[in-house]
């Protein structure tokens, strides 16, 4: 038969099961419907301004999107009404505090990565993101984190910028090497 060996990976910073909820799905759902309805009305207004009627040769530029925004607004308001009236649904947690902490642990570095890409170029930013994330969030040894992230960034650089000629944003470091 097959040789069986267990594969096990631990998760040192896993969210606790009993972490208190930050907010319920219901609240988020209502917020989403409100935002969508507002967006729909804004777009409807913009398309109305562009012209949503009929020109001599067919529908004007705003015709198609205008009616879509009306559909979007209608569906959002229907959802809003349903969620408000049906108060027993969606009581479960949207995220718990621990889960939100973990999501932020990815989101904030990703946001910083995008920000740094503008000034330092994509490859330097990616080196910082991977090394920082592995070391700080994953609790992986610093030298492993630095090495992995250096190798990965180099592979990406060689693959995209050199082999496939797909040019990425660059910063001062690449300029130093004449790229």
């Amino acid at each position: 038969m097959s040789s069986e060996t267990e594969i096990a990976v631990e998760d040192p910073t896993a969210p606790a099961e009993d972490s208190p909820p930050v907010t319920s799905t219901r609240v988020v759902e209502i917020a989403v419907y409100l935002v969508l309805a507002a967006l729909a009305l804004l777009l409807a207004f913009d398309n109305w301004r562009t012209g949503m009627g009929w020109a001599s040769d067919g529908p004007q530029a705003g015709y198609f999107p205008f009616y879509l925004s009306i559909i979007l607004a209608g569906a959002s308001l229907y959802g809003l009404g349903r969620t408000i009236l049906n108060s027993s649904e969606g009581r479960e947690a949207f995220v718990t505090r621990d889960q939100l902490r973990r999501v932020m642990q990815v989101f904030v570095p990703t946001f910083l990565f995008c920000l740094f890409t503008q000034w330092l170029g994509l490859y330097v930013a990616s080196f910082l993101l991977i090394a920082g994330f592995m070391w700080m969030v994953g609790r992986i040894a610093l030298w492993k984190s630095l090495l992995t992230s250096f190798v990965f960034s180099m592979i990406m650089f060689v693959t995209f910028d050199i082999a496939f000629d797909v040019i990425m944003p660059k910063g001062p470091l690449e300029a130093l090497f004449g790229h």
Binding site: S2, S3, E4, T5, E6, I7, A8, V9, D11, A14, P15, E29, V32, L36, L43, D46, N47, T50, G51, D57, G58, P59, Q60, A61, G62, F64, P65, L68, L72, A75, S76, Y78, G79, F94, V95, V103, V106, F107, P109, F111, F113, C114, Q118, L129, I130, F133, M134, V137, G138, R139, I140, T148, F152, M156, T159, D165, V166, I167, M168, P169
Partner: protein, 505 residues
């Protein structure tokens, strides 16, 4: 046998060392993507798409479709060994696959999964080979009204047949269609919904949105869960392989039934996920011993895997023949076609014969090579899961950013990707489906063009959508599908009244 000779020609296009090498690379990347937590078919294809931008279209689509097959194969590995379905359609595979692994029959379960995947795909590819050219040449007679009617049919069937709440599907679809209209209007040259932002002039790129919606949001979602894994490792020996294959003919009914269900649901938009469950449930219902399902029965692996692969493959049929993708991943492949300057739809079969038949031939070859590859390399890929997620997550983020930037060389797109990542995360958590959004975004401008051309042709008369038998029946069918839940409920009530009272208990 015109299809056959064209197919042979397609193989001739493929059989170069370069294409074969790309095929292998695509399969390896695909299996990798399928095995990794938080990544699946659509994400993998979306993220790896930029790699192909500088290739010629045939090589590019061969590599991308191989990534797709690879991801489908890879999903089965995690479902069986770790009880973690990589994709929604792998869920049914865990029902019997994981119990088998627990009983020490992991190798058997994997062999069964890979083999049945192969059979399902083969069934669907055969269907594509012989049906797609016919459908395409039929669709060549379509004018703008017919095309708009077909788009309408696609959208309506998503709303009517989808499992999610109807208003959520409508929201997702309307939003996708709206965002597709942002930017310069192609007919009048007017600016729409840009609000003075020059970055929005180009419009919202479909691939940027997809990378955010599927890639970034999936990372956020995955982080919410406990990422500790515990699973089995397996090596497939020739002995096991022979044992499973020897028994295969006994299950021909299950295999054929699942293939047919999968192919049908794959062609219907929005049906891909339902296929695997339906395949599983029907196998259980028709079994002489339904009690043994869920406890490690090999048939419980055959049925869903065959259906899932058949539907995943069949989803490419409407994409090739009509330019309408049957699934999220097919929509992304379609987005890729447009990047390479190919216009998906019936004309593709006429104008780009090499491309189409190369792609179809690659479906055969990719599945055969993929089968051999997964059977021999399972231990390697299962070991990939040993790599901690903290190392993989940032690498995926970087790959997503590279992908988003490469499409139009715009920093704005990286920010847009991040925004779509957050939107995707929230939508998934409140149950707004993303597949209709993807489809609407990729089809939006073409649907609108078809509508406007039809209107210009008819002088603004909406009756053009019922002006002849063909377009009339498609439009009517679209409305029937849109209101299908209401109609089927009404019919259900009528038939209940007609039937004698059911026995209770």
């Amino acid at each position: 046998m015109e299809a056959f000779s064209l197919l042979v020609h397609g193989f001739a296009v493929l059989l170069t060392w370069k294409t074969l090498a790309l095929m292998m690379v695509g399969l390896v990347l695909g299996i990798f993507v399928g095995v990794l937590p938080g990544l699946g078919g659509p994400n993998g294809v979306a993220i790896l798409l930029p790699l192909t931008f500088t290739m010629d279209p045939t090589s590019a689509i061969v590599m991308l479709s191989c990534i797709y097959w690879g991801a489908l194969f890879g999903g089965a590995i995690t479902s069986i060994l770790f009880n973690i379905p990589g994709e929604a359609w792998s869920v049914a595979t865990t029902f019997d696959g994981y119990p088998m692994a627990q009983q020490g029959r992991a190798a058997e379960a994997l062999t069964a999964a890979f083999t049945s995947s192969f059979i399902g795909s083969l069934f669907a590819v055969l269907l594509i080979t012989f049906l797609a050219p016919g459908i395409a040449s039929f669709a060549l007679q379509f004018g703008p009204p017919e095309f708009f009617a077909v788009y309408l049919l696609t959208f309506c069937s998503f709303v009517g047949l989808g499992r999610e709440a109807k208003h959520k599907t409508i929201i997702s679809m309307a939003l996708g269609l709206l965002l597709a209209g942002v930017g310069m209007d192609t007919v009048s040259g007017q600016l729409r919904m840009t609000f003075g932002f020059s970055d929005l002039l180009r419009g919202i790129n479909f691939l940027v949105a997809v990378i955010g919606l599927f890639g970034i949001s999936e990372i956020l979602l995955t982080m919410e869960e406990r990422l500790a894994l515990r699973g089995h490792s397996a090596r497939i020996s020739l002995h096991v392989l022979w044992n499973v294959w020897k028994d295969l003919p006994r299950y021909w009914v299950t295999l054929l039934r699942s293939s047919a269900i999968g192919a049908w649901l794959g062609i219907t938009p929005g049906g891909a996920i339902a296929a695997s469950f339906m395949g599983y449930n029907l196998a259980k219902r028709f079994s002489k011993d339904p009690e043994s399902f869920g406890k490690g029965r090999i048939e419980g692996v055959f049925a869903p895997e065959t259906a899932a692969h058949a539907s995943g493959t069949a989803a490419l049929l409407p994409m090739l023949a009509l330019g309408i993708p049957g699934s999220g991943t097919a929509a992304i492949l379609l987005g890729g076609l447009m990047v390479w300057g190919l216009n998906p739809g019936p004309l593709l079969f006429v104008e780009h014969k090499d491309f189409v038949w190369g792609l179809i031939a690659s479906m055969y070859l990719g599945n055969i090579v993929g089968l051999v590859m997964v059977l021999t390399t399972v231990p390697v890929f299962a070991a990939v899961l040993r790599v901690p997620f903290a190392a993989i997550a940032p690498m995926i983020v970087v790959s997503c950013a590279i992908g988003a930037y490469a499409i139009q060389n715009a920093m704005f797109d990286i920010w847009l990707m991040l925004l779509f990542g957050v939107v995707g995360y929230i939508f998934k958590k409140v149950g707004i489906p993303l597949a209709p959004f993807t489809l609407a975004l990729v089809l939006g401008s073409r649907a609108e063009d078809a509508f406007r051309l039809a209107m210009i042709g008819s002088g603004g008369d909406l009756r053009v959508f019922w002006s002849n038998g063909l377009v009339g029946s498609i439009t009517t069918l679209a409305f029937i599908l849109l209101f299908w839940p209401v109609i089927s409920k009404a019919f259900g009530r009528v038939s209940e009244l007609l039937q004698p009272a059911k026995r209770t208990g």
